[in-house]
Symmetry: C2
Subunit: 482 residues, 2 copies
């Protein structure tokens, strides 16, 4: 039997902390004179009490050694229980959502997906908008810590390839997590502050600059307006692009940079692959638009740059309805969302390093079939990739594709048309934000979906954010026996 | 340098034989008194002469030992050169197609895809309709021979798992191919004859029964009518279903059955997986339709049975426009086409045994992450699957998905809308037939696509039919150096 106490203790503490942060939007609503402030106070109280009780009930746990089972449980339970409480302000306060909608929004926030069920965002009180931003921001830094501290040890989806990177205190999961969390958080905070200042410099008002910096650096994509970034100045799109890209690189490289060495960043092969792929996408999209749309060259480039960056990084902002750009752009937008950014960033989806490894595997297989006697091992960063990592990455890819198919079928069964079902499954599993089509596309909203579809999508966001296998492992009997 | 002579010799002979078979539609047109017969004679003459010259020019080749390079070249060149000549009757005679359209139709035929660019099929002379059917029929038996004789030796896409099945004369590629071709062809002919008789028994006229039996057993899907099977009797749908299923099972099992042992068929795990998946799809589709469509139970079941079987097996007939059935059916139809039937049948796509292996790989990966010290090997038919087979199958799956993405992007670039581009890429690569949407869906036609898109789709059919890597290997410099 697994000792659930350490898991309950940490999750309890996290819930209590979440409750504490609800006091920030409470204060903001109070400051802006919004009438609804009581609901943040009530939500904070419930959350703090519930979290504290959970922690107290399990306080006799030994935290020295989290074993593998406990670590898996901890990650999934964190991302499952926090939205349960994070949804309270949306349910008890503005916009007075149903609990289904409130939970969907909270899960979309904490997983940095950015799909929203709320409309007329402009009319929501500042506290509610800030709470959406804060949940994405915490979700963003949370996943970096999990990706760097837990995933390599857990060998999920080939993340063990990053095991020897930067932090080498393997075995002691929690001290390692604390160490990583501290240095990553400092960087994360610095980039967020720089983003907020830059947004303000190009014309955003103070509040918008704060909230959008939170959701930019988290590559989350919640915006304060129904038409996302369409109402902001042109320069805003450039600023957002810079920070979405910064948020898509491995944060561990920034830590190393602060410690005096920029080399690891510039030698990181996934960084180069990301920039190469990004440049290719932006330029081909801009070229296509240049020859097919009657708009100015700068606007063509800027719209391509901003919207491609937004979808590739899984942020999910939109500055225009790119759904109307035609077959090539829409196909590209659908597919690029399945790529994502670098491991160890706030980005989600399959991630660029897995595509590097998968392409290497196909290449070595092609070599193998024409020279059966030869030995061809896929390489990453010039080093041979072990069979262990390779089978882990391919299993992830297969699990991703099969999950996508099953989710699309489930959504179809709930009444969504084929394009909405398939792109909805993809946007949730890859934590992007918008899907395709009129209903959930960049100018649409997830509000109109049936409740059951919202729960399916919430599950997909959770599964995708935690790299699938880390969740699926909980559904095996062997996991609970050991 | 590769000795191209044996390859040229065999391809030349195949072309000459193809030219000879053109005399069959010639005779048929003559019999029906169609005025256009001269064009089949001209096409036959050109084809026979060209093939004979090719064979004569390379007749000094040693055929004793085809090496791996030559075998790869032989398969791809066969499926590339035969449609070049197979297109002639469509180009020179009825329906007087452009060479692009004629080549597309011939490639769609020889790869047993079944997408068509011809409309008003009813008005075409019998010879032309028979020629479409004959090309699918030859393509069908051709691929079984290649799959059983060449692919296991070539280790393409995990097919080496079938290496020790039935025919064990490894090393001598050509005698093996001849041995396999003979016994498979007898079975193939018997099933086709049974199919034709059955079709006639349920009311098809003689000519329709012949042509549709050719395209059923090939899981090809060319029909003699624009509305495919919609005009035939209800019983016809059941008959077609039986023979589409028979054509989706490993033909080697029928050979073994004729040799006295039915056991191998009933012990074949891919056969069970296929039947299980097929039953699940048919029943869930019928159940959905039963609760969502105001039609009789028998009709619900029959339409679900026929159309699901048609798409799952990659045949591509339609008895109704299932595009209009709603989100769940359309999503299912899109995804089931990517599954396909058994290896060693006329079916295409990813195939059921690869999904069995891929799911086994994901399962063993999940076991591995919660018990890192354990050794978990994926199993197939109760036996451990070697790393060699596993990496070969996953490389195939990755290559399939990446090819799908690139093809969809290329089609988008050529002006197709996103759903047409994505489903068109899928239906060509998986050799199914119809796509989704109004343009290329079950009630549509590929005629309206731009010429460039038809060439891209033709390439996709070829690549998909030959299990991708067997074609891609030709594009490496190492292949040509060795």
């Amino acid at each position: 039997m697994i000792d659930l106490r350490p898991v309950g203790y940490i999750v309890g503490l996290l819930v209590a902390v979440l409750g504490g942060t609800m006091l920030v939007p409470f204060a903001v609503d109070f400051f802006y004179g919004n009438p609804d402030t009581g609901n943040f106070a009530l939500s904070a109280m419930i959350t703090i009490v519930a979290g504290s009780l959970m922690a107290l009930a399990t306080a006799n746990a030994s935290l020295r050694t989290l074993n593998i089972q406990q670590t898996f449980l901890l990650t999934t339970l964190s991302w499952l229980v926090l939205p349960v409480f994070g949804a309270l302000p949306f349910w008890l306060g503005e916009p007075g959502a149903s609990y289904t909608d409130a939970f969907f929004e909270a899960m979309s926030g904490l997983t940095t997906t950015g799909s929203t069920v709320f409309t007329q965002l402009e009319t929501l009180p500042e506290g509610t908008l800030l709470w959406r931003g804060l949940m994405q921001w915490f979700g963003g830094v949370g996943i970096i810590v999990v990706a760097m501290a837990f995933m390599p040890t857990l060998k999920v989806g080939g993340m063990q390839i990053f095991r020897s990177e930067g932090f080498d205190t393997i075995g002691k999961v929690l001290p390692r997590a604390a160490e990583i969390a501290t240095s990553i958080s400092i960087i994360y905070l610095m980039i967020t502050a720089a983003c907020a200042v830059s947004y303000a410099a190009v014309g955003m008002d103070f509040f918008d600059a704060i909230v959008h910096s939170l959701t930019t650096v988290a590559t989350g994509g919640f915006a304060n307006y129904d038409d996302s970034f369409a109402g902001f100045s042109d320069a805003t799109e450039y600023v957002a692009t810079v920070f979405m890209v910064l948020a898509s690189l491995p944060f561990i490289r920034y830590v190393q940079m602060l410690n005096g060495s920029g080399k690891p960043l510039f030698k990181d092969s996934q960084v180069w692959a990301f920039f190469g792929f990004w440049a290719f996408l932006v330029l081909s999209m801009a070229a296509y638009r240049y020859f097919n749309a009657p708009i100015a060259a700068e606007q063509t480039f800027r719209q391509s740059l901003f919207n491609v960056t937004s979808i590739l990084t899984g942020t999910g902002y939109a500055s225009t309805d790119y759904n109307l750009w035609g077959g090539f752009p829409v196909t590209m937008f659908f597919l690029m969302g399945l790529v994502g950014g670098c491991a160890g960033s706030t980005c989600c989806s399959i991630k660029i390093f897995r595509f590097q490894l998968l392409v290497a595997a196909v290449r070595s297989q092609i070599q193998k079939i024409h020279t059966p006697s030869g030995v061809f091992t896929p390489r990453y960063q010039g080093r041979r990739v072990g069979e262990d990592v390779m089978s882990s990455v391919t299993a992830f890819f297969v699990a991703f594709m099969l999950s996508l198919a099953l989710l699309a079928i489930a959504l179809g069964l709930l009444g969504l048309d084929a394009m909405t079902a398939i792109s909805g499954a993809a946007t949730a599993l890859a934590n992007i934000g918008p899907g395709l089509g009129d209903q959930i596309g960049p100018s649409g909203n997830f509000e109109s979906l049936p409740d059951a579809a919202k729960w399916v999508l919430s599950a997909a966001m959770l599964i995708g954010r935690l790299e699938l296998l880390a969740v699926y492992v909980l559904f095996t009997t062997a996991f609970w026996r050991s």
